[in-house]
């Protein structure tokens, strides 16, 4: 009995860490846009939902295997980001937070119901990938596809970190997070900077949509779940660093996995959002954040 519980606990923790690794990518897109462009995107979760649907569409039409869907999802969502910026976000950059929230809530309504109109309310899941096998370490089972998803997420975050630290554009982005006006005075074209930031933010969302599909099916209301979850991660991490986002994501991945595994899968949202509200009360500035 005791040993069984120990194995189950270890298994649940492993799942939580792998899940958190995937959440990190989804949250990074939000943190980037909020940090660099100071833009509140309330529809972030709906973009994740859309990315999940596109991963589903590409896997049943062109690729037959969900592993290859990021090849299409990343450029597609970069393009969607550029279009969204030019069409909507550009006008919102200097607007007060209330207008930003209101306009992006409009986008949320639009995307959620577009998904409902196209794919209806039934959950959609991609076919199994060739990597949908598992191996075991002692009594612990390690699913290969989920391990792979985490690895892809970690590599991407590592590359993103290098980009932010080493390239001119990345440095401009980090500087903009600290002080937009100074960056603008130094001769950086902030309009182009924010355009690229939105593009990169949604490219990350495109990839994360493919990866999340290894865990769960998508419905039009998935956007709300992932929207709140990624905001919760950003609240815990603050807007400081990629590392902060990663740690916060793993904490939420663990909370998610432990709630579903040891209590009741229907109770996971109580735990996740309860944790979110507590974080907002206790640490309004985030654990690792500067703001």
């Amino acid at each position: 009995m005791g040993a069984d519980f120990g194995v189950q606990l270890l298994q649940t923790i492993l799942f939580g860490v792998m899940l958190g690794g995937v959440y990190a990518l989804a949250a990074m897109g939000l943190a980037l846009l909020f940090g660099v462009a100071n833009l509140v995107n309330f529809a972030h979760g709906e973009y994740i939902m859309l990315a999940m649907y596109m991963a589903f569409v590409f896997s049943v039409t062109i690729f037959q295997d969900p592993v290859l869907t990021p090849l299409f999802n990343i450029p597609l969502f970069f393009a969607i980001g550029v279009i969204t910026y030019l069409g909507i976000f550009k006008r919102l950059i200097k607007a007060p937070p209330l207008s930003q929230i209101a306009a992006t809530v409009g986008v949320l309504v639009l995307l959620r119901n577009l998904a409902l109109a196209i794919w209806a309310a039934e959950p959609k899941a991609p076919p199994y990938t060739v990597f949908a096998t598992s191996f075991s370490i002692g009594p612990i089972i390690v699913p290969l596809d989920k391990l792979l998803a985490m690895a892809v997420s970690f590599v991407t975050l590592f590359l993103l970190n290098l980009f932010l630290e080493r390239t001119r554009l990345g440095v401009a982005m980090r500087a903009s997070a600290d002080d937009v006006e100074a960056v603008s005075l130094m001769g950086v074209d902030t309009n182009r900077l924010f355009l690229l930031t939105t593009g990169i933010s949604l490219a990350l969302v495109g990839l994360s949509g493919s990866l999340i599909m290894t865990y769960q099916a998508v419905t039009p209301t998935s956007g709300l779940l992932f929207g709140l979850l990624t905001w919760a991660i950003v609240a815990l991490a603050g807007l400081g660093t990629v590392k902060g986002i990663l740690i916060a994501s793993i904490i939420f991945g663990l909370a998610d996995s432990l709630a579903s595994g040891l209590w009741d899968p229907r109770g996971r949202e109580i735990v996740l959002y309860g944790l979110f509200i507590l974080i907002l009360w206790v640490r309004p500035k985030g654990l690792f954040g500067r703001r």
Binding site: F42, G106, L110, L228, R266, G267, Y273, F276
Partner: protein, 321 residues
């Protein structure tokens, strides 16, 4: 002159059931439109005057439905008592969540998100709490016409209850707006730090606004449950939160006439689109609704309130902003 426009509005509200030919289905729709409009008007207290973008309407509406329904189903308590009890329960929850939030200075996007999280937390709590709600719908005992129990077979009964609620909510909100509390709330919205420095008890007034609004939102939930005859955890609906806040913003934050007029018009358009397009493709009417919202907010960031006010000013019986 003002009494004439009030009288006109009252006659118009009273005449609607006859304009839709006493058709039960249309009566149901117009009652729904007035219920949601009532929440929008009440939301002005916390959003329009207090400046807090609250997305908790679904939580309070759901609480009203579940508490009123539970009392009617399990104890045979009259719906009228249920409305008061559920309103008090919602105001209590609002206090529990609002007190720490305002004390710790939760604002803007973080306040909006925490209030949205509340809707989903309560929904799942009542889904798991099978003694009170649970995954199955609970049906309220049917009565052909029992005004004391607040249950009737015809929707016209609920229509007039809702119309009275909307009218009194409008009066309460306009009264508060002209009171000291209203002025304090507006000063908080315009500049919270300055208001606090001048000695306005920011937390107290925000909390008062939140509690009155949540009470009214719960009453709409109780009426809804009694009208449809059942309650279920999905009545903790995040869509109501989003709809309420967007309609209030499109109507014009802090405007008295804009939000109810815009709500009634846009909700009617939405229901019309649902009947005509929703049958063809589910969700299509909401897509169009979403486009309308984005376009209005993009091009009229202050909403349609100023426009409606200037139109109203052209008539002798004007209501000023």
């Amino acid at each position: 002159m003002k009494t004439y426009s009030a009288l006109g509005a009252a006659i118009a509200l009273a005449a609607v059931p006859f304009l839709v030919g006493l058709n039960e289905y249309y009566l149901f729709l117009v009652t729904l439109i007035l219920l949601y409009t009532t929440i929008v008007v009440a939301w002005q207290l916390i959003g329009g005057y207090g400046g807090q973008l609250d997305l908790g309407a679904g939580a309070y509406h759901g609480l009203g439905a579940v508490v009123t329904g539970f009392l009617m189903v399990n104890y045979g308590v009259s719906g009228w008592v249920g409305l008061l009890v559920s309103g008090a329960a919602a105001a209590g929850v609002a206090f529990l969540i609002g007190y720490p939030s305002f004390r710790l200075g939760l604002k803007e996007v973080w306040y909006a998100l925490s209030s949205l999280a509340l809707v989903l937390i309560l929904q799942k709590i009542f889904l798991l709490w099978t003694d009170v709600a649970g995954p199955l719908e609970r049906y309220i005992p049917y009565a052909e016409f029992d005004p004391v129990f607040m249950r009737a077979g015809t929707k016209i009964f609920y229509y007039y209850i809702t119309a009275a609620l909307l009218a009194s909510t409008f009066l309460i909100v306009s009264r508060i707006r002209r009171s000291k509390t209203g002025l304090y709330l507006i000063s908080i919205r315009e500049n919270e730090e300055a208001a606090e420095m001048l000695g306005v008890d920011v937390r107290r007034y925000k909390l008062q606004a939140l509690m009155i609004y949540s009470f009214i939102a719960a009453v709409t939930g109780g009426i809804y449950a009694s009208m449809v005859g059942f309650y279920h955890p999905t009545l903790f609906d995040s869509w109501i939160s989003i709809q309420t806040a967007t309609l209030a913003i499109v109507g014009g934050l802090g405007h008295l006439l804009g939000p109810p007029i815009v709500s009634i018009i846009l909700l009617t358009v939405q229901e019309y689109l649902r009947i005509t397009l929703g049958a063809v493709i589910i969700g299509l009417h909401q897509v169009i609704f979403g486009i309308i919202l984005v376009v209005i907010i993009m091009f009229k960031p202050d909403g349609l309130g100023p426009l409606i006010d200037s139109l109203a000013r052209r008539f002798p019986a004007s209501v000023r902003r």
